[in-house]
Symmetry: C2
Subunit: 479 residues, 2 copies
């Protein structure tokens, strides 16, 4: 077994969560640093997770009537400036192209930080009548935001995402679209990524630049910090007015249409790591795991073992993303390797198993092992993949429940944080921006969202000013 | 039928090929111009063609052992300069980012024109032993080249592509990879896009910047101009030496690995248009057509027609990309619309057809109509899609055969071009760059490639200098 790689130690999750995170990113070979400051290489194993995310979401987008397009990656400075709030929000953090070859450009181009302006420019070209509406567009691209502090997947200067951009004849239709896509994201997080999320509305100060309303799904990581996992924005007709997009209605009158945009990014991979991972490495939700089950032959030099292992692989390969590892590494090495990589199921098959007509299947998240008769293989694998999904969702939900605290005053927030550390604080707020800032200054947590199932707060007082509360708000330290 | 759009006239293909081309791009809604000079929007119908191209090629890449990754879109100037020939080839045509937000960057970043330097930088990080080889990587991204003259799909400042980058322990393995991917591209063009191609090697002067050898597939468009449809490069160990990528071999000695790269781009969509299109618009190869068959109800207000049309759609939808157009436009309008959009099959169903238990299927490329008994629908549609593919391939091949001319001297080339116009000129060449330039100066055509099945030229003389020929070369005016 010469030249054998050993699975390297990773930092303990509870000892140093941040270092544990970067250890996993590197050692599970999800991403690697580059010579380009603030940018990463997404390696095959990490990219395969993204491809699975894309496949599921893209099918869902198409099912709900959306079409993919591709806009340019550059935005001329004049175009970026057309919507006042939008340019104020993004101009400070864009990368500027000033030269093409050796020639200085007449007008600077920014590398898109988001593409509202490009879509509007296009819509103004192609929309004339109510018959041209709605347009339900999406694109899968990368965008650039010149961040100072970066971390793989969570915050990088370039990141991959999808951005949906839709335009509708009426405000009602656009609002319904905004809500629909928030629900698509929430369902995806819960049913594919096994990440429980809170659906909510952002406060005025935390809205997307140019939006009338921003909705988000917020997840709680294992360490009790919050992560915004997706956003859906309602624009009203603000962009349409700024870009002079008008259509002739059924009533033959010119009018402005209403718009939305919505997006999720590769930071979802960061959310997966920080929601499900443990001290042995990554734990992947079955729906997006590049390998759902790995078959590891035991005593593979013994006659018939590799043949049987290959037979199991062939039985599973049309319904499960299965891999047979028949390399000459030791079984122990392989156990650690696929644990580090978060493969949901490990199937062990050795001479004694073959004799007994069985195999052993271990679940990554719990370590639980089950003896499975070979003639029940397909059914058991499907069942156990579901069990892994349900199990990791439950663990994540329990973590969130345990780490969600009701607080009625600034003092309570401070003592709660001192006692329990990070988590969601659910606390009433009067709706005033000064109080939102006050909470942040005095306790460190920021408003994450007003939950859509806004709990009754008629008897509650704002934690900051003591006036009547308008909303219950989730507050937290956020990634 | 108020508010009805009429299919707009397009320029005749033979009257003005260039204008016919841009008419189709716009009127079939493949792409649209933008406010970003030299860049285009790829519209849903055009992007769906690209998605189908991606799906087929990506499956083929994975079948041949390749994995997808994602590199940054930026290249620091110092990294671009590491390989001398490479930077000379690309630096004059890159876009430079000089500011991040309001801060001037210490080192300029170019937007990738191609990613050899980024892959090499990464390989130097992750390759140490022969056990780390080969790496067979690919990425689907966009790249930027600051072109002066642009045309949708054929030459734009930003374009979509895939770039494969592989690295191997031996030169033999890398050469085999280069050949394999050239064959993958050629098979794809012929079997999916129905575009016949010549596989060949580029001359020294036409090699990729930094390559030891560049192979290409060359197609002939309807107008007799050539289009390079894909390239596959063998790098030797030149990049490995420039980037100091070394590995410890089985013999325990440090050595340099060998590399390849290969790519196809959205210009394939341009090739589809110019190979198959006609005066009624686009003609799409079934394998990549977003809609393979459109069902058009005749006299759809009559009882039972729409129901029957929907029944046919439901029967086909699991095996064919089928669309039922039950809008209130006239059948005649729909006929023109889907002809313009190049949909391979049109299925007509009206009251008389229903009574007779049949439908009528028309093939876009030939206009031929076939009466099909309804109980044979699925089989006939599959058969006719194949017939469309074979038919358009045959037409393209005949066009190429008709427009390929053997010439033995510069004078013959000149008179051939005067008589026949554009096409492939197959003519002997001594291998000298001066003669290659000479042919271009005197006749206008450039060397496209030395065909891999290099015909015997032992009795031939170079068309330029009259010395013994080394190769037969395809020459043409190229897009």
């Amino acid at each position: 077994m010469q030249d054998k790689k050993m699975v390297k130690e990773i930092t303990s999750r509870d000892a140093d969560f941040a270092k544990w995170y970067t250890d996993i990113v590197k050692k599970a070979e999800l991403a690697e640093y580059t010579s380009v400051k603030g940018c990463m290489v997404i390696r095959p194993y990490g990219y395969a997770i993204w491809e699975n995310i894309q496949k599921i979401l893209d099918a869902k987008f198409k099912e709900t009537g959306h079409e993919n397009v591709c806009m340019p990656m550059f935005i001329p400075e004049g175009l970026l400036q057309k919507e006042k709030d939008h340019v104020e929000g993004f101009a400070p953090e864009v990368a500027w192209v000033t030269y093409g070859g050796s020639e200085k450009l007449e007008e600077r181009l920014c590398v898109r930080p988001t593409s509202e302006t490009l879509f509007c420019d296009h819509y103004a070209n192609i929309i004339h009548s109510y018959r041209d509406l709605p347009k339900l567009y999406n694109q899968w691209v990368s965008v650039v935001r010149w961040e100072k502090t970066t971390r793989p997947f969570l915050r990088t200067r370039e990141f991959l995402w999808q951005e949906g951009h839709t335009i509708h004849a009426t405000a009602e239709e656009a609002i319904a679209e905004t809500e629909q896509m928030l629900n698509v994201y929430a369902d995806f997080c819960e049913n594919a990524l096994a990440i429980p999320v809170v659906k909510g509305k952002k406060t005025e100060s935390d809205k997307f630049a140019g939006a009338e309303a921003t909705y988000a799904i917020e997840a709680l990581m294992h360490d009790g910090k919050a992560l915004q996992a997706g956003t859906s924005h309602y624009f009203g007709d603000g962009f349409a007015r700024a870009f002079d997009i008008q259509f002739t209605g059924k009533d033959n009158k010119k009018q402005y249409p209403f718009q939305t945009s919505w997006g999720v990014t590769t930071r979802l991979i960061g959310a997966i790591i920080m929601t499900h991972g443990d001290d042995n490495g990554l734990v992947l939700p079955p729906a997006v795991a590049p390998i759902q089950a790995v078959i590891i032959p035991i005593a593979q030099h013994k006659p018939g073992v590799l043949e049987k292992a290959a037979e199991l692989r062939d039985r599973l390969k049309n319904t499960v993303r299965v891999k047979l590892d028949d390399t000459d590494q030791s079984a122990g090495w392989k156990f650690s390797e696929y644990e580090m990589k978060g493969v949901p199921l490990r199937i062990e098959i050795g001479p004694k198993d073959i004799e007994a007509g069985q195999c052993v299947i271990a679940m990554r998240h719990s370590g639980e092992k089950v003896i499975v008769p070979l003639d029940e293989l397909e059914a058991k694998v499907a069942e156990m993949l579901q069990k892994v999904h349900d199990g990791i969702f439950r663990i994540a939900l329990d973590n969130r429940t345990k780490k969600t605290y009701n607080c009625g005053s600034i003092d309570e927030i401070i003592s709660c944080r001192a006692e329990h550390g990070d988590g969601f604080i659910l606390a009433p707020w009067c709706g005033d921006e000064a109080c939102e800032d006050g909470v942040k200054e005095q306790t460190g947590v920021t408003s994450r969202c007003i939950p859509l199932d806004d709990p009754d707060c008629s008897d509650e007082k704002c934690v900051c000013c003591g006036k009547d509360a308008q909303h219950m708000v989730y507050w937290a330290i956020a990634y």
